[in-house]
Amino acid sequence: MRTYYDRIVRIAGNVVTVIARNVGYDELAIVNTRRGQSLAQVIRLEGDRVSLQVFAGTQGVSTGDRVRFLVRPMQVPFCDDLLGRVFDGSGLPRDDRPEVKGEPVDIGTPAVNPVKRRRPDFMIRTGIPMIDIFNSLVESQKLPIFSVAGEPYNPLLARIGLQAQADVIILGGMGLRHDDYLTFRKTFEEGGVLGRTIMFIHTAADPVVECLLVPDLCLAVGEQFALQGKRVLVLLTDMTAFADALKEIAITMEQIPSNRGYPGDLYTQMARRYEKAVDFDGAGSMTLLACVTMPGDDVTHPVPDNTGYITEGQFYLRGGRIEPFGSLSRLKQQVNGDTRDDHRAIMDGCLQRYALCRESREKRDMGFEMSEWDEKLLRYGDMFEQEIMDLAVNIPLEEALDRCWKILAECFEPVETGIRRTIIEQHWPKELTDEEETPEPAEATA
């Protein structure tokens, strides 16, 4: 028996209020309008007034329309047939193929019990020295790329995505431009991973509420694969669009904004999504990389600011390079103690010298005389930028560490590196003699 409710008493923003009884909070409804059907979610109960957030927006909804309640929360069908498919923000196919039949799973499920989490310890090697040496990425990490429009953040996301060697890749696009979507698709196709990729794509032209659902859909599906023991990688771009959707909804709900119009629960809302990244004790894992474009290139803007507090670090992408300052991997120390004994020393030493180089550059730009020490630092900075920081560099960690030693040795005396002596003694490059320069045969063929 289907019960329809037709007393719609208020339509404002994306919210419709209907008179109904026996409705569960957070559950789903279908609004039938002249334009067709739209899913909606219960966001407030007050006596017999039920407020619904309509996924497709309220444009064209009339007080004569009818509402039916589904007595369940938002779900997504789960099965292997999802692989290789593309969906929209309400979970419907976007690729002109039939709907997927699978076990329905709730979205926005409870948190993982902390005691059922493993301590992550598997380093994801990206071949990008700015990541591998200075801010190692770790399986199950949640980490955003902070950037601004115009920077190649999506290609970087896709590149890391490919290197991560995940069993399942899930792409969530929020306010995604169509050509960006096509670029992702092409990269995954060329990388041979399209068959294990699932995409939930909301474009700027789609209803704003659907944008809100994209992370939940991706994470609910990813979580199921992870529970099956798979290593899942979720890529979300752009989380700023998600936050802006939250803001828009909060304002139509007349909530008091806390900071620049964003609702007071922005932190909680974002954290609930990011915290889905997990390494299950006794099952698989889910790694979460996201893009956050910073409005006005301002890292103190509420979206990047709250994100920074939530995630396990961030990569700043600026001028086509991963900035060493501000970039951070909070999990790096879980893995960089077991790579090579000089890893941490190089990480600190190189960055501290690079920081000093920037000071010298400032002095130079202001027209001050350069001391001998300044000259050393300047030379170092240039080499470091070209041979290590450049995103085109794609070499394994060990090679990158050796390269850092080479640069340090070309620019500094050992005591000037700030690296402690025991490490220097072991790794400082020997004066290269002619014989040593001849590569070993094994290396030559490698």
């Binding site: 026996n22 059922k116 301590r119 008091i256 002095k363």
Partner: protein, 581 residues
């Protein structure tokens, strides 16, 4: 007493009832599928009770029953708390996992103490003795402590011991004594008792002025911005500046009996680090694992918001309980801003008039009330015990001019402000030596501390000036001051948290190294060109840094020290002034 739900919005439920409603009492929202969701009355208007629900409210309906209880939100106190990992409402998470697996299912609650386990009780009073609230009736061994079983904290006046069991094993639920109250009523006593989390627990002769240093083995804290037992301090800092790492180090090395870690609204992964590491780490002072002196209260950011607000109170109540036993307890709360934000979310749903940044008007008094629960007490039997509270603050945009930081600074005794510039430059711990302060006395003589602060201040001024006049425009004397200040910063203030030796410096070593550094600082080295000056100070830095990594009393330690003494004697030139002890 039952009510019925009339409204649901986020984690707020409004229930209507004909009966009596008690402010801050608990209620259970009964979902149709049988789950009962714990909640707390936070406002009463006529027959309406506003409740904040400590769980996701998904599936609740108008008309659902709310069971309203008389009792306040409470924790259970008794043996078996140590080593536990609880959520914000004192549900032991490992036991919850046995029931519900990977996820935290709403409405699943487990008693805070193991009700099956038996404890070897030794009575300390006899029939006929007079006892008052909080007096010790007997003890049980819990990890390395004598856990005191105390007369109920709610007792009024003097009571007589009517009966008490012999030395024997009991579960926490079994009666171990009967007391006779003042009007002759019989009071049955078990080894567990409940206490409402929002009511301070401090039964004592008097509160003491906290003054005994609480050593953390973090040099910049112990030497420059000390913390004391029974004191309070805060660590504000932008994201990624090192608040959590600093607290993690402190939780390992702090010279206290018990550490309570309250992970409040932050990453679950950080708690996992502690849960996995501590059982493996042996505390050299006790020979036991660190976990045996630790309690973790964890309400991470993905867990329900209302319970986050409760979690800091749960944590401080457990701290106060162990203080009643004569122990020194350190409570580390990370992050108090998330707790404040939880208050803000609730206040918003109550549609209260918002203050600055939409925080409620009572924010400051709540912060003050929380830190007030720290303190050193002289207990009724004369022992001294303490609760120290250290809280991190996560200011929006890293700007300390915001309500939570400001409200906290007004009430704490020490301020460890982390700076973005220092963490970007990898100068850890990133406590800003120019901004931070402490009202407490530490392990280094104040004149010496003042001296290096002056050095740091002047060093920073010279650095500033150099950006205007350049190195060539800087006098060699000023230049040397700058180098010396950098030297002190590099080899003393900075500390590698991930090195076993450098990461934790005992007090005596701090005092010794501090003096050795002053010897270097006090010399003028006869430096007359800047490149030489820089080279000499680099050399000193290199030697001290190497020294920092050598274990106490090792051969290498002595070797390093010898080199340093030689350096001071040979390169040192003449002493500028003498600060010998």
């Amino acid at each position: 007493m039952n009510g019925r739900i009339v409204s649901v919005f986020g984690n707020m439920v409004i229930a209507e009832t004909d009966g009596k409603i008690v402010q801050n009492s608990i209620g259970y929202c009964c979902r149709r599928d049988g789950a009962k969701l714990l909640s707390e009355v936070i406002r009463i208007r006529g027959r309406l009770a506003d409740l904040q629900v400590f769980e996701e409210t998904r599936g609740l309906r108008v008309g659902d029953i709310v069971e309203l209880r008389d009792e306040m939100l409470s924790v259970t106190l008794g043996p078996g708390l140590l080593g536990q990992t609880y959520d914000g409402l004192q549900n032991p998470l490992p036991r919850v996992a046995e029931k519900t697996g990977f996820f935290l299912t709403p409405g699943v609650y487990v008693h805070g103490l193991d009700e099956q386990r038996t404890w070897d009780f030794t009575p300390k009073v006899s029939v006929g003795d007079t006892v008052r609230a909080g007096d010790t009736l007997g003890t049980v061994p819990e990890t390395m402590f004598e856990h005191h079983i105390m007369a109920p904290f709610t007792l009024k006046g003097e009571c007589k011991v009517e009966s008490i069991v012999e030395a024997s094993s009991h579960t926490v639920g079994e009666e171990i004594a009967v007391l006779a109250g003042q009007s002759g009523e019989k009071i049955s006593v078990t080894m567990q008792q409940d206490w409402p989390v929002k009511r301070p627990l401090a039964i004592c002769k008097r509160r003491l002025m906290p003054s005994e240093p609480l050593l953390t083995r973090v040099r910049i804290i112990d030497s420059m911005f000390p913390v004391v037992r029974g004191g309070t301090y805060c660590i504000p800092g932008p994201f990624g500046a090192g608040k959590t790492v600093l607290q993690q180090i402190t939780s390992r090395h702090a010279a206290v009996d018990i550490v309570i870690v309250a992970a409040c609204g932050e990453r679950a992964g950080e708690v996992v680090e502690t849960i996995r590491e501590f059982p493996e780490l042996i505390d050299p002072r006790t020979g036991k694992s660190l976990m045996e002196r630790t309690i973790i209260i964890c309400n991470t950011s993905a867990m329900p918001v209302a319970a986050r607000e409760a979690s800091v109170y749960t944590a401080v109540t457990l701290a106060e309980y162990y203080r009643q036993m004569g122990l020194h307890v350190l409570l580390l709360a990370d992050s108090t801003s998330r707790w404040a934000q939880a208050m803000r979310e609730v206040s918003g749903r109550l549609e209260e008039i918002p203050g600055e940044e939409a925080f409620p008007a009572y924010l400051e008094s709540r912060i003050a009330g929380f830190y007030e629960r720290a303190g050193a007490l002289e207990l009724n039997d004369g022992r001294v015990a303490s609760v120290t509270i250290g809280g991190t603050v996560s200011p929006a945009g890293g700007n300390f001019e915001e309500p939570v930081t400001q409200g906290t600074l007004k009430v704490v005794g020490a301020f460890h402000g982390l700076s973005r510039a220092r963490s970007d430059a990898r100068r850890y711990p990133a406590i800003d030596p120019l901004e931070s302060w402490s009202k407490y006395a530490g392990i280094i003589e104040p004149e010496k501390v003042e001296k290096v602060r002056e050095l740091l201040r002047r060093g920073s001024e010279v650095k500033q000036m150099m950006t205007v006049v350049g190195e060539e425009g800087t006098h060699i004397e000023d230049f040397t001051i700058m180098l010396k200040s950098e030297f002190f910063d590099n080899v003393y203030l900075q500390q590698n948290a991930f090195d076993d030796v450098d990461g934790a410096t005992p007090a005596e070593r701090q005092q010794f190294v501090f003096d050795k550094i002053l010897e270097v600082v006090d010399r003028d080295f006869d430096l007359d060109d800047k490149d030489t000056a820089r080279r000499v100070m680099f050399e000193a830095q290199d030697m001290f840094r190497t020294w920092n990594y050598e274990p106490d009393d090792s051969e290498k330690y002595k070797l390093s020290l010898g080199k340093i003494d030689e350096f001071i004697a040979t390169r040192g030139g003449k002493a500028q002034e003498v600060t010998k002890q």
